[in-house]
Amino acid sequence: MQLASLQRLNAARRKRIAAILLADLDSHTERIVLEGDPLDGPIADLIEDAFRSGRSMAFDATEGRGFLNVYLPAPRIAIIGAVHIGQYLTQIAGLAGFDVRIIDPRTAFATSERFPGVPLFTDWPADVFLLDPLDRYTALVALTHDPKIDDLPLAEALRTGCFYIGALGSRKTHAARTDRLALKGFTPDALSAIHAPIGLDIGASNPAEIAVAILGEVIQALRSRPLSLSGDGAP
């Protein structure tokens, strides 16, 4: 590996930008492809698959023999609301390899007794995001039902292009929510990115099962996400 490649790769990784090192093992040349770079050429499909799956591989195509190593940011889940479902979701999401944090300004909910070992932020989401911003490898899961707490993070997630955005609440609650967000300038198309009712439709009927349904939907979104999410339609 060339030092310039390593430096470029590490810079991208520090900024949580997905990157691929593409090495030609015959000519000993290499290049770095960042997610969002225009893809062309015969191995564009391989590169796209690698970004999506996170799987590195050797390839032996007619165009050459090489190796591509993909470096994806660790996927995170930001949970708004230190509620009962969140207690289960933090556990199972941690097992599945997600880096999880709970954000809830209500200190009676967000206690380390209820969430042992889980990073807890007890400031308002707007303040938390200043220090620890959302990004495209973060899923935003809004669980409070409270517009004062949920609305701003949902808007921020839409602007950021989080790979998953979900909000708890009935269809009626969600209709009121989208009306409020529309007043902030979000188009119906942009608002359709919010998964509500939240979670896969598996008939989940208690907090633990709902957590499973949410995590399943988050994983589905992560593995099928478009490569260049944009904030199109966001104000």
Binding site: M1, Q2, N10, R13, R55, N69
Partner: protein, 109 residues
Amino acid sequence: MTTVSHPNDPLLTAETWIDESRAVAIATVIETWGSAPRPVGSHLVVDADGNFEGSVSGGCVEGAVVTAALDVIAGGTAQMLEFGVTDETAWRLGLSCGGRIRVYVERLD
């Protein structure tokens, strides 16, 4: 998939070592067959004194990779190494899990 927040991240370590004017080789798992302990893309970085960070196996072949890396640092020519049960050195270097791996070792320069 690689996370950058890990304190023992091999590629961040490699950059630090280069900043300290140390010579560095990077070993990468290029291909695996059967049951391999570390996925394709895993890195081990080595300096000229044999210090290393990361892993390309569960500890079975790291010693041999470090030795090869010292040659690569000294000579500059990249090497492709293969380890596994069918390897002639299997009795001393084989992977206990029964798989096979191919590891590319190159100097960082």
